[in-house]
Symmetry: D2
Subunit: 306 residues, 4 copies
């Protein structure tokens, strides 16, 4: 692999930082003190949902084999328990879906290379039973301060150019605009505006080409001790990737080297409009993944409370 | 149906209270002011997960046809994108499950009787597409103050007797023990201890017979303007039911008459132990359901922050 | 509905023909004598599979909500039962799919109109549990003589024009070309050549517009006492339909009025090439649907033995 | 592994017999001549279904993780295409199920040991995509002569003792009773009567302990050039196994060493009653598996025509 990659990898590596058995990586930055302090970001008590709706009209277009949009079917429709419609009737449903089909977190085990998982866990821990190490169930409760870095806004565009690779300077500029200092244990949400294409029904355009994180942003997230990071795209990192011969390097830097939990398909539009209106870019963020045992990822219904 | 039921139904009915088109019922009690005040319950910043793990070893034993425990399968295992194991490899998974299989919220449309949904919505709104009215996606962000009413503890037992019907006096006694006053917009969590049977592997015993809510507790929840209510059982209300000829009356009172969102299979054991230790029975509760469009229920990963 | 429809409906109606409780319709034409005679069509003993492969690369493109191509996932991969790879290891899989996603039979309950199912069964027989009447499990063993009517070949084209409505004369001409007389209890397979588009990867073109059966062919199938009928298209009948204000009339004539089981996505290309080569257009056909209880349709793996 | 096993394995091994690239094993015994001759077994034209119903009430009790009984849900119920109930309405369904949940064939890749698949195919051919070699889609059309060996009847019992290991002598005795000579290319169906327990609702008893094939029957099936073999049990071979330290040896002998396709959960009761009545124990058997690409097994709806 390219030298550029290895240079960054070495710089941001967190293996052993939280012990040889750690499976949570940078989530360890979220201490009770961090959580308590985060409540100070709640000023008016207004809440913003950051998830996209879960339905068969989701963003998946078949690019990832088998990662299907939620197919929800009914198990019962107004079904009288006793046969008498005037007594208790039930309606019930079930779903089949890719665990990373909608708004989700990647588990640290989702990406690997050279037979390595975060913190050096053996690759053999990945089986048909899922991820014995670093599964999404290891995340646990996720409530901390969130910070919105609205890069599209700071650049004065509706949305970033397709294929634009975010830089450290972009993140600094967005933080400055938001008058917010990123602290250890924050979850950083970076807005590109790309999800507007999904809202407009252009699922293919939403998918590719896409702006996103780059090898240049990984050291920034490392230096700021960010606990987790999410954005409003489906690939998460810039796609097509920075180098043709280096597929998805940001996944490898974040998940494998840093142990940095990352999220995709987060809808930041309504939150961003509110932040632009009142100038407050920090908030209490609740974003606990569904605890699928040994899951490689999981749906999340994140909420920002300002 | 029994006169007892209709008397309570009339007393607790909320139809029209929040307008003819309302689909959120008592969740309307949660105002921004309520949310802001709830952050005052965070003192140390410690978080408690209240969900049970999502796996094929879940609590479902086939009592509800088709409501299966999560069956998670792998779509890819350490699969090299380029064919080269030293570059990006991916692991991915999908799931099929009943939407009410684990820790979940019922949507208001989950139960009906006499062709009535909450707020008089037409029964025809329930189709193979799901619940056009009062679906779980109508809930939105759910962050407010939570209060634990530990009825098992106030009665001095490990867990309530199987088949015990909770009373209004039980709730008052638990609130008094917890030195907490239930306020408008609170979510109330009632602990019976029943989930200990699930932890012990006794899924059948966990299911039935079970303590739970009764027709006596509905007016109490109504009077206190509770926003939503959950407990640590699978049926939620006492089972077998109070009257043999009156199946699941509490579902009808809560969901249909009051528009009171209710949750099941919440694991309150660790939280309760902590509350007993420090005497603090209120907390910030985050419990946003996964936004399944038109869903009759949805998984939730609730977290209490003290 | 148009008078043309009702005229044909009256002519081909079979309600009561096999008793008031019949759920099998024209399959009743298949008697033991018919089956025994069908073995006389086996001359060389060569077998031809008529099904398309079942995979995520199937013909479904999302036109029918929820009818997904088979998504097969692995439950175990070379998993050692005792932990020792030198002893018994297992590999196992599961699938989620629309029951009519691939090569399939429609059950007689699949289509309805004016609250009527075949033979006047009550519409209330259709619930979330499936089809209590006329489900695909009522078909039972399906082995009889098959006859290929190669309309594309008799017209001297690779495949029929998109949107071409088959006529009775087409069927007669194809039978004459094949030197075969359709008999009571035969299953008739009609080749349009449309499935070539699927083989070429043009799933949209395969779906629509498409040649297929019409209101003109229903009386022909009725008069010849055909037991069941299938073709090599996904809609089965000509699409767009013959009259803009009369959606899918052939489904209603066949399934509701006649009780004529019909099949779609049958791959007749290899069989047709062989029939053209040796001039033998009849064969033993085995086409028993998978017995899904109360299913609205079912996969079938039909085989022609010549 | 035990010397007994290796002795039998060496004797019955078919690797290379049909070429280095063969993926069909003993199915190669079924030639067109065999198929043509098989039609001679049809005397009256009566058909017998040999499959169990596909429903959520199937035989799976959770012994094999994830191999669930069919869960069928409705995609549409009497849904009017134009909104007008008097025009075309559709009902449609989907299913999720283990591919070996009901009456099925194992693919040759289903079992392995010492990193070996039938014919020495590399174990790496088994991935999340399924079986690249020896998948169930390689079987193709399956129509040949079937022979019922009714061991329960020849021993004069309703059903064989739980845990009874079939012997070569049992198969000879049943053939003699049936006045049938097993020929090259036949599919042999062996009746134990065990499935009576399933009919009686005793799913656990049906599963275990169970009579079935043994290391003693493999050489017999090899010597008779049997094309495929099925019985009326869920494990197929005797269970508990013959030696405590030798798990499922018959699977390894049949699938890995011989390339002998094997079937489970075949319901032979009605067929056996008829054979006992008329003394005819051979028939035309149609048993083509659903062509799941790369499947480790597949449902089949076998039919015997006498």
């Amino acid at each position: 692999m390219r030298a550029e990659f290895h240079q960054v990898a070495e710089k941001v590596n967190n293996w052993g930082r939280w012990g040889a058995d750690d499976e949570r990586g940078t989530l360890n930055f979220i201490t009770p003190d961090v959580v308590k302090a985060a409540t100070g970001s709640v000023r008016s008590g207004r809440s913003f949902a950051l998830s996209i709706p879960l339905s068969s009209d989701g963003p998946q277009i078949g690019m990832i084999p088998g990662r299907i949009n939620p197919l929800k079917t009914m198990l019962a429709i107004n079904d009288p328990m006793t046969g008498n419609i005037d007594e208790f009737c039930t309606s019930d449903d079930s779903v089949v879906m890719g665990l990373q089909a909608g708004t989700h977190w990647d588990s640290l085990a989702h990406a690997t290379y050279s037979n390595r998982i975060y913190n050096g866990a053996p690759i053999a821990s990945l089986t048909t039973r899922g991820a014995a190490k670093c599964g999404i169930d290891k995340v646990g409760p996720l409530v901390t301060r969130g910070v919105l870095l609205d890069v599209a806004r700071v650049k004065g565009v509706e949305r970033l150019d397709p294929g634009y690779a975010l830089t450290a300077e972009d993140l600094d500029a967005a933080a400055e605009m938001g008058k917010v200092t990123v602290r250890s244990g924050d979850i950083v949400l970076v807005r590109t505006g790309q999800i507007q294409l999904l809202h407009a029904g252009d699922k293919t355009g939403y998918t590719f080409p896409s702006p996103g994180f780059s090898m240049k942003t990984a050291p920034w997230l490392h230096a700021h001790e960010v606990a987790a990071v999410a954005n409003d795209t489906i690939v998460f990192e810039v796609f097509p990737c920075e180098y043709e011969d280096l597929p998805l390097p940001v996944h490898l830097l974040h998940l494998v080297e840093m142990g940095l939990t990352q999220g995709q398909n987060w809808d930041l539009e309504a939150l961003a409009a509110d932040c632009a209106a009142d100038g407050q870019y920090d908030f209490l963020l609740t974003a606990t993944p569904e605890p699928f045992v040994a899951g490689l990822g999981a749906p999340v219904a994140p909420v920002a409370v300002k």
